[in-house]
């Protein structure tokens, strides 16, 4: 029983993290039909910025609790700079081109940003571990968990709920859904598609950076973390159905629980667990759990 409870808690925590790192990727794909490989770099930029700024904050002797706000600020800053630069500076010239071309373009951006990270921060890791232990911990059974895990869980829930609310209950969200459904028709009906793309990419970039910023206190931030993350995020998005927000949430939950169960009961399967889930889902539903039905255009 204790082990089952541990599987559920570990699974939920890991799912929260997976959802946070994948949600920006699925949002951008859903609206823009761009599989943004540079999402991994935005994650890395968020992690580096958070580690640097929060590290500076703590070093200056400011209240450590403020480091959470600094991390959030770092993610927003990265999103507000990198998002518009990539979208306005490069992607807008590619709209209408084949999806594969856009994948290659974002892959190129990923490679450039990976080197940019090394250029700015070097290859030495950055640590900002204080926020991970600052909030204390909770005990369930014989296991101790830092309360920071609740922050991750809370962040995932808030992001999911806010995005769902914006998409379904606000005017801007409904316009965005219209663009997702039919870009050309939306444009013809007076929606500024370019503006929707710009805002979506910037928000997606911000979410990618937020994933990195929230992860930074748990890892050593170093070159290469973006590549590891994009693979996982991609798997989650594919399992959920490209572009589906509820799909990403369910996929993250599924993968998180399955991985935790594998680690607890069959550790030798840990390496393959996420891909086993992906293979199983794609056999049953080739377009993912919540694939969006596309209207056939005549």
């Amino acid at each position: 029983m204790a082990q089952l409870l541990a599987v559920l808690i570990d699974g939920l925590i890991y799912s929260s993290w997976l959802f946070i790192i994948a949600v920006g990727l699925t949002l951008i794909y859903g609206v823009m039909k761009i599989l943004n490989i540079a999402h991994g770099s935005l994650y890395a930029l968020g992690a580096y910025s958070a580690a640097s700024l929060a590290g500076f904050w703590i070093k200056q002797g400011y209240p450590p609790m403020g480091s959470y706000a600094v991390m959030l600020f770092a993610a927003i800053l990265v999103g507000l700079i990198a998002g518009p630069v990539i979208e306005r500076g490069l992607l807008r010239f590619m709209y209408g081109k084949d999806e594969i071309v856009l994948v290659l373009v974002t892959y190129a951006v990923f490679l450039i940003l990976e080197d940019f990270v090394k250029l700015v921060w070097g290859v030495d890791p950055y640590f900002i571990s204080q926020p991970y232990g600052l909030l204390g911990s909770f005990v369930i059974g014989d296991l101790t968990y830092p309360n920071y895990n609740l922050v991750l869980f809370g962040a995932a829930v808030i992001i999911g709920v806010v995005l769902a609310w914006v998409l379904t209950k606000t005017r801007q969200g409904k316009m965005l859904l219209a663009v997702i459904h039919d870009r050309e028709m939306s444009g013809a009906m007076g929606i500024n598609v370019g503006r929707v793309y710009f805002i979506t990419f910037t928000v997606g970039a911000m979410l990618g950076a937020l994933g990195g910023a929230l992860t930074a206190p748990m890892i050593s931030v170093q070159p290469g973390i973006g590549a590891e993350t994009i693979v996982l995020a991609f798997a989650v998005v594919v399992i959920g159905g490209l572009g589906s927000l509820p799909g990403a949430a369910l996929a993250a939950l599924l993968v998180g629980i399955v991985r935790a169960a594998a680690v607890h009961y069959r550790p030798e399967l840990d390496l393959f667990s996420i891909y086993l889930v992906m293979a199983f889902v794609l056999i049953v539903r080739p377009k993912g759990l919540f694939s969006v039905q596309e209207a056939r255009k005549i």
Binding site: P125, M218, V263
Partner: protein
């Protein structure tokens, strides 16, 4: 006519002499090009790759200036200066195979010194053989390189990882004879699997009644260890063995410490030495630390050790860690073989190989003997200690040194077979 013939003969003789010089060694003005392959990016760069690069550059400068203590006082290699061509090891084994071909065929390096990752070593060794280029593996740990194959052009100047498990288990049982259970967390690739297999085999030999509680094998670069830490906590193991390294080790320590894992279980980090100054506050006191050889904090005082510490500290914030010592062993071993061959009148590839095989040479971490793998694999003794915090700084105490015959299998015996047969000391 005679004058013309003489001219032709003289020109021919000059050409032949030039060819002979380049075949047998290097003209004084042409530097020896050494390809250095080490991690410059990725998780292994900070604790391993970059210290090795800093050390290599400092060593080459010091060698070229002729400022290395005896017996390495000759400038460069046999008077010929050295030049480094540095390549990033990141990118995986396939990329490294391509990079090695590039180094040899396009960059035309004379020697290759490199490779920290065991997967990379296993991949490049057959290619080095095919290219017939002397390649010195300086840091990777898997014993499979020379236990599963035989190479002419490949050398490893650092002991393989079996001693980590053997000496680590000996140290553990000496300090904790009543140990009842142990678990492990190791990366799921060649080195991690070998390390755990060796450790469990040694424990089964030395302490058969001790129970294995769990073996966690997260993928290389996993980064998130929540479920693994839960399993380790629930296992209530007396000891947790880990060969994690790079960013994986750092992330594991950052995540495990606030969960009080190390108040339940003692930790043994067989490759932990490079992290001592990086994880202040996250390595609990009493953690058993290995350095695969008497390197880094375990290196004993000598002129060569003082030299390495000095030239490294001039370029870095800290004193050299064990990857820096590993790269020093590679350069000094190769220099020793090169000069021995040259002293006999020829320093071509064949002569250097002959001089390198079964060579014994001095290094900052003591004597290195090329006694395994038909003279291509180094052996040394090793050391272990346990961490303690003094004035906010992590140091190691209760250091114990283990002689080579206690921790390494003799020639011709596979590590795992030697361990299972009771680790009978060989003759060296």
């Amino acid at each position: 006519m005679n004058r013309r013939i003489s001219k032709i003969l003289l020109s021919g003789a000059a050409l032949i002499a030039t060819a002979l010089v380049s075949a047998n060694g290097h003209a004084q003005d042409k530097p020896i090009r050494i390809g250095l392959v080490t991690f410059l990016s990725g998780p292994a760069a900070g604790p391993f790759g970059v210290p090795a690069k800093i050390a290599a550059e400092a060593i080459v400068d010091s060698l070229n200036a002729g400022k290395v203590p005896a017996p390495y006082a000759t400038k460069g290699f046999g008077g010929t200066p050295l030049e480094l061509v540095i390549i990033d090891e990141a990118g995986g084994a396939t990329k490294q195979v391509a990079e090695l071909r590039n180094l040899v065929q396009r960059q035309e390096v004379d020697f290759v010194i490199g490779y920290i990752g065991s997967g990379d070593c296993l991949a490049v060794a057959p290619v080095a053989e095919e290219l017939q280029k002397i390649t010195v593996l300086f840091d990777c740990g898997t014993p499979r390189v020379f236990e599963d194959a035989s190479y002419k052009y490949v050398f490893r100047t650092r002991p393989h990882a079996t001693m980590d498990a053997v000496a680590g288990a000996m140290y553990l049982l000496e300090s904790r004879p009543g140990l009842k259970s142990y678990g492990g967390i190791n990366q799921n690739y060649a080195y991690g699997q070998d390390s755990w297999a060796d450790f469990t085999a040694v424990m089964e030999t030395l302490k058969p009644e001790a129970v294995v509680t769990t073996s966690q094998m997260p993928k290389f670069g996993a980064g998130q260890y929540g479920p693994e830490i839960s399993v380790l906590l629930q296992s209530n193991s007396d000891v947790i063995h880990s060969s994690l390294w790079g960013g994986d080790l750092e992330a594991f320590m950052l995540q495990a410490t606030p969960r009080n894992l190390f108040t339940r279980s003692q930790l043994i980090l067989v490759a932990g030495e490079p992290y001592l100054h990086r994880l202040t506050g996250s390595i609990p006191d009493g953690t058993i630390i290995g350095a695969r050889g008497p390197s880094g904090v375990y290196a004993q005082k000598s002129a060569l050790n003082d030299w390495l510490r000095q030239i490294y500290k001039e370029r870095a914030e800290n004193y050299p860690n064990y990857p820096a010592y590993s790269v020093a062993q590679a350069f000094l071993g190769l220099k020793s073989a090169y000069e021995k061959a040259k002293a006999k009148g020829a320093s071509g590839t064949e002569e250097i190989i002959k001089a390198f095989e079964y060579e014994t040479f001095d290094s900052p971490s003591g004597k290195v003997m090329m006694k395994l793998g038909k003279g291509h694999q180094a052996v040394t003794g090793t050391a272990y200690g346990a961490t303690r915090t003094v004035n906010g700084q992590i140091t190691v105490g209760n250091v114990k040194y283990y002689s080579v015959e206690r921790v390494q299998p003799p020639e011709g015996v596979k590590s795992i077979d030697w361990i299972k047969a009771g680790m009978k000391p060989g003759k060296w």
